[in-house]
């Protein structure tokens, strides 16, 4: 891995924690959304929404990470990513800025991290004020017994 290689991440906050999503995977950032509930779906699936004529499955990242349900349900944002040609909206609290970070500064997940977090994180960046957890979209969407990865 070259020393100068730089990766750009969109930062998002969920329950006070900052996460990074590779910017190239992000297609859209949505403000208020109208979700259609999908009964019987895995609990991580928050519903489906219409994004310019495409049906996007919405994933509640809080549930995926085992975080408590947000108190303020009205102000939620989502980041649309594409995986295997299918669009998914990741339900998060807020969207921050885009950061360019050197890949060689990525640190391994600490062994004490919750297994659910370790599953979806590819590593941690040490920022000045806080820590940035890098999310792996593939892993994040792989919760229903590997049906997405297939």
């Amino acid at each position: 891995m070259s020393v100068n290689e730089v990766q750009e991440y969109v930062t998002v906050t969920i329950a006070g924690q900052m996460f990074g999503i590779p910017v190239l995977q992000v297609h859209d950032v949505l403000g208020s959304i109208h979700l259609t509930n999908i009964p019987l779906a895995p609990m991580e699936v928050a519903g489906a929404l219409n994004l310019r004529g495409r049906i996007v499955t919405c994933i509640d990242v809080r549930k995926r990470l085992g975080l408590p349900v947000s108190e303020d349900l009205t102000r939620r944002m989502s980041v649309v990513v594409e995986h295997h040609g299918e669009p998914y909206a990741l339900l998060i609290d807020t969207v921050g800025e885009v950061l360019s970070l050197k890949t060689d500064q990525l640190e391994k997940n600490p062994a004490t991290l919750d297994h659910r977090w370790r599953e979806v994180s590819s590593g941690i960046y040490r920022m000045e004020s806080n820590l940035l957890v890098i999310l792996q979209i593939e892993r994040l969407l792989d919760f229903a017994g590997g049906s997405v990865a297939a």
């Binding site: 109208h34 259609t36 049906i55 299918e86």
Partner: protein, 939 residues
């Protein structure tokens, strides 16, 4: 791939398909000359094109096949199984070559000498002395040597040698000869024969005894063959001409890549969605400049959608084209005699659907022929005809295509299936005990039932039936099986016309909206939870059911299936929120009918089914999702999934007879309006008689001249009650049935309009009560059929010539009456009247239609015809009937509202047996029976 080549491949594949089918037909009907010509022409085309494209191997096989066909066409060879088999074999080789060609774009290496030799052996027959065939040919071609038919072989050979030698014959010379020949007779015949002769001349030396003169022969003969080559040009040109005539029609159509169509379809689907969205937006606003252009857009979109749908439609026969061949091969291999009967091959359905049912269908037909039908001995022993039948039938019904595959074979052995079910642990003995025969039979379509080949021996069926079923269900279809041991089996496949755009019912449950494909919705029922309305949900040990007419309908609560209550954790609250009414969507999956209870029902919407995200694919309860006009995402419920999640995927209990009866009577079904009036018992009136259903405000009812009337559409409409017992409502609105004929309108007061049902109107009991024709069983209940004529008469006494009569019931049974009348009203009125009197009634809207019936070979015992009809009146009709001997002996009774002596005379003159005033039913009945009796009507 080269365009030319790909075109050739498509065309040739198609042609081979036709040849396959035609050959099988030919085998059954060897004298069918058009078939022979057709096959010959197609094979010839294949050969010609192969030569043109430089595909020698294909050309030589086709050529050899053509030779055999030529012989058949010239009646030198009779069509039998062996001949057909070898030609089919040749077609198979061509198919293989084509496949290889498609893959590699090159003709594969190989040698077909053996096949060609065998083909030639058939063509020239080891029995037929080949030089004899060569002789006339040589005579024609060389134009030098003259022979009589009787020349001996040796002489012939000598002549051959003696002939100036084809080398000397100028090459063009044979051509004109051939041309003249072509003018005289179908050109190809003689030339093919000629060619064949030349081919035969060198002789398959290994098969036929070597000709006496051996040495010089090859040289000599080789030459004529070549000489014949230019000759061939002539017939080809002729053939081309013929082909061109055909392509003139073919030129009206073009071949379009299917992908392009699919893309277009997707785009139109998107367009429909956007249109819906726009419509929804504009609907909210009152008047606005967008309304008109949007309406136009909406129209155009709809038309575009329909047009595109049509381009995707293909006759189902395309999926069947291979079947005759398969059946034929099977019957040879298995030594069975099988008749394949196909009905409704022209029924069209979406290409995509067609592709998907092709294999299941083939599989099922093969199964029917292979496992379903018995061998000839077994059939004879069972008292059946030696030849088994496999019948394929396709027709439209609602938004569906119904395909049935029936055989008259041995049927399914329930006991054996039971054993197998137990063996495989699919059900317990107790469970089996409670199942109907049909449910047990349906196990053969269960996955896990047909695990091994040996099951074939056990059940006689079942190889891959689960695959067939899942394939059909994948496209939203259903398969049903009905079988009776020893009598045969019927598979009924029900599939949607198209997959792309479906009409869906939008419902609400637990605050969420869902779409239900309209296709699976049978009807909607509103039910109360507090017992106020007549439809009440009742519980059997916590299982909700609904009494729906004559049956008990199992119900499922959608919110329970979807666990919507628990999700909201408001179980207690929900039940209150539900309110006092619920909607039941009566749904049919296969033969299993059940109700889905939802909170609300909105309208229907055209939706484009989109697949759900992969993480949701395991939810069998949804068949997809879509975006509604208002832009929201909605999940589409899959009734199949609901049926299977709510327990057993039960298949209903229709039996074969019932089905057959239904099929037979489908056309005789009459839509009946069921109402209640003057008593609890249901009353029915043919719906076609009813002009409108109205509700009038009781306050607007006036009385004039002792008659209740209302002002209706600017006129006075009399109201009549069913009987003295029936009363008007005191206040509010009164439902009435409006009957109209020409200028006159009448309102019949009823207590309640119950339903509209389609059923066979079979009046079983004549009634002596005024105003009732008789009683019929409709939907399992004895129902009085209202005699509309009686009430019309009551209102307009003058309208009818004489006083009313009770139905005339003494006529001889099943006399066939043809009723010709242009007024649908009177047709509808007289049909029940006549049928109650025991006549078998057919109707014709006008004399032309009646004459068409005559041409179709139908026969009647008596004709009742109106006089005043447009285009051709009753007098002319009578003349027409008398002119032709087919119906000349059939008595005709004239019906007319004008009964002047002049008319009467004229009627008699043109051949009417009698003349009856139109509304004098008594007279009509009397005249009918008298006329029939007089004319030896005791038939």
């Amino acid at each position: 791939m080269d365009d030319l080549l790909s075109e050739f491949l498509t065309e040739t594949n198609e042609n081979i398909g036709i040849v396959d089918a035609a050959l099988v037909t030919l085998e059954q009907n060897p004298d069918d000359e058009t078939q022979i010509d057709n096959i010959f022409r197609l094979v010839h085309t294949i050969k010609g094109t192969c030569g043109f494209l430089g595909l020698p191997r294909l050309a030589s096989v086709a050529h050899a096949g053509e030779n055999v066909l030529g012989k058949i066409r010239d009646k030198e060879l009779s069509v039998d199984a062996d001949v057909v088999t070898i030609i089919l074999e040749a077609m198979d080789v061509i198919k293989e070559l084509l496949e290889a060609l498609e893959q590699t774009e090159e003709e594969p290496e190989g040698d077909d000498a053996d096949l060609i030799a065998r083909l030639n052996a058939v063509a020239y027959g080891t029995a037929a002395p080949k030089p004899a065939a060569a002789a006339p040919a040589a005579e024609e071609s060389s134009n030098v040597v003259e022979f009589s038919e009787e020349v001996s072989e040796a002489e012939l050979e000598a002549a051959f040698l003696a002939a100036e030698g084809p080398d000397d014959v100028p090459a063009p010379a044979p051509a004109p000869e051939a041309e003249t020949k072509a003018e005289l007779q179908p050109g190809e015949v003689s030339l093919e024969e000629l060619e064949a002769a030349f081919n035969a001349a060198p002789g398959p030396d290994d098969e036929v005894a070597a000709p006496p003169v051996a040495a010089p022969e090859p040289e000599l003969v080789a030459e004529p063959v070549e000489a014949a080559a230019p000759v061939k040009a002539a017939p080809k040109a002729a053939a081309k001409e013929g082909a061109q005539k055909e392509t003139a029609i073919a030129n009206q159509s073009i071949r379009v890549n299917v992908e392009l169509l699919e893309d277009l379809m997707t785009m139109v689907s998107e367009l429909v969605l956007t249109r819906n969205q726009l419509l929804q937006m504009v609907r909210g606003m009152d008047d606005n400049e967008f309304t008109v252009p949007l309406q136009r857009l909406s129209h155009v979109t709809t038309e575009l959608q329909e047009g595109l749908m049509k381009t995707r439609m293909q006759p189902i026969g395309n999926a069947w084209s291979k079947l005759p061949r398969i059946i034929r091969d099977l019957s040879h291999d298995l030594n069975k005699k099988i008749d394949l009967v196909m009905h409704g091959a022209e029924t069209e359905l979406d290409r995509q659907v067609l592709e998907m049912i092709k294999d299941p269908l083939t599989h099922m037909v093969r199964n029917s022929a292979d496992h379903g039908l018995e061998g000839p001995e077994e059939r004879l022993a069972a008292g059946k005809k030696e030849t088994g039948r496999v019948v394929l039938d396709a027709y439209h019904e609602g938004g569906h295509i119904i395909i049935t595959i029936s055989d008259d074979g041995r049927g399914l052995n329930v006991e054996k299936i039971k054993n197998k079910v137990l063996e495989n642990g699919l059900a317990t003995e107790a469970e089996l005990e409670g199942m109907s025969t049909q449910q047990i039979q349906n196990f053969i379509m269960r996955p896990g039932f047909s695990t091994a080949e040996k099951i074939t021996n056990v059940s006689g069926r079942g190889v891959g039936m689960d695959v067939v079923r899942s394939n059909i269900e994948k496209i939203g279809g259903t398969v049903e099986l009905k079988s009776e041991e020893g009598r045969g089996s019927v598979f009924t496949i029900k599939i949607p016309l198209t997959l792309a755009i479906v009409s869906a019912l939008i419902v609400e449950c637990g605050g969420e909206r869902f779409a239900v494909p309209q296709i699976s919705v049978v009807e909607l029922v509103r039910a109360s939870t507090d017992g106020r309305s007549e439809n009440t949900i009742e519980m059997i040990n916590e299982a909700p059911v609904l009494r729906l007419r004559d049956r008990l309908l199992p119900l499922v609560h959608l919110n329970e299936i979807l666990r919507l209550e628990t999700a909201a954790d408001e179980v207690a609250e929900q039940s209150e929120v539900k309110g006092d009414e619920e909607f039941i969507i009566v749904t049919q999956v296969g033969a299993y009918t059940f109700g889905i209870v939802v909170d609300r029902v909105f309208d229907t919407e055209e939706i484009v089914v989109k697949p759900v995200a992969p993480i949701l694919r395991h939810l069998s309860i949804f068949s997809g999702n879509t975006i509604l006009g208002d832009g929201s995402v909605i999940m589409i419920l899959d009734p199949n999934g609901i049926a299977s999640t709510t327990g057993e995927n039960v298949i209903g209990d229709h039996n074969i007879e019932e089905e057959a009866l239904r099929d037979a009577n489908d056309t005789d079904k009459v839509a009946m309006l069921i109402c209640r009036a003057g008593g609890e018992e249901p009353k029915a009136v043919p719906l076609s008689l009813v002009a409108r259903l109205e509700e009038v405000d009781v306050d607007t009812v006036e009385i004039t001249n002792g008659q209740m009337v209302v002002q209706y559409r600017g006129k006075i409409m009399p109201l009549v009650t069913m009987s003295e017992k029936s009363k008007m409502v005191e206040t509010g609105r009164q439902p009435i049935l409006v009957f109209t004929d020409n200028e006159r309108t009448m309102g019949l007061i009823v207590d309640e309009i119950v339903d509209i049902v389609e059923d066979r109107l079979n009046v079983e009991m004549a009634s002596s009560v005024e105003g009732v024709i008789g009683s019929a069983v409709i939907r399992g209940k004895a129902t009085d059929i209202i005699d509309v004529g009686f009430y019309l008469q009551k209102c307009f006494g003058d309208w009818f010539g004489s006083k009313e009569t009770a139905a005339f019931g003494a006529a001889t049974k099943s006399q066939r009456v043809l009723l010709v009348d242009d007024s649908p009203f009177f047709r509808n009125m007289l049909v029940p009247l006549l049928s109650v009197a025991g006549y078998e009634v057919s109707t014709a809207e006008n004399p032309k239609e009646a004459l068409l019936m005559r041409d179709a070979g139908k026969e009647f015992d008596i004709i009742v015809s109106d006089i005043e009809m447009p285009e051709m009146d009753g007098f002319q009709f009578a003349e027409e009937v008398l002119k032709d001997e087919r119906w000349a002996d059939t008595p005709i009774i004239a019906l007319s509202s004008h009964t002047t002596p002049q008319d009467f005379d004229r009627g008699r003159q043109v051949g009417f047996s009698d003349y009856v005033a139109k509304f004098d039913r008594d007279a009509l009945m009397n005249t009918l029976s008298q006329t029939l009796r007089a004319g030896g009507g005791a038939r």
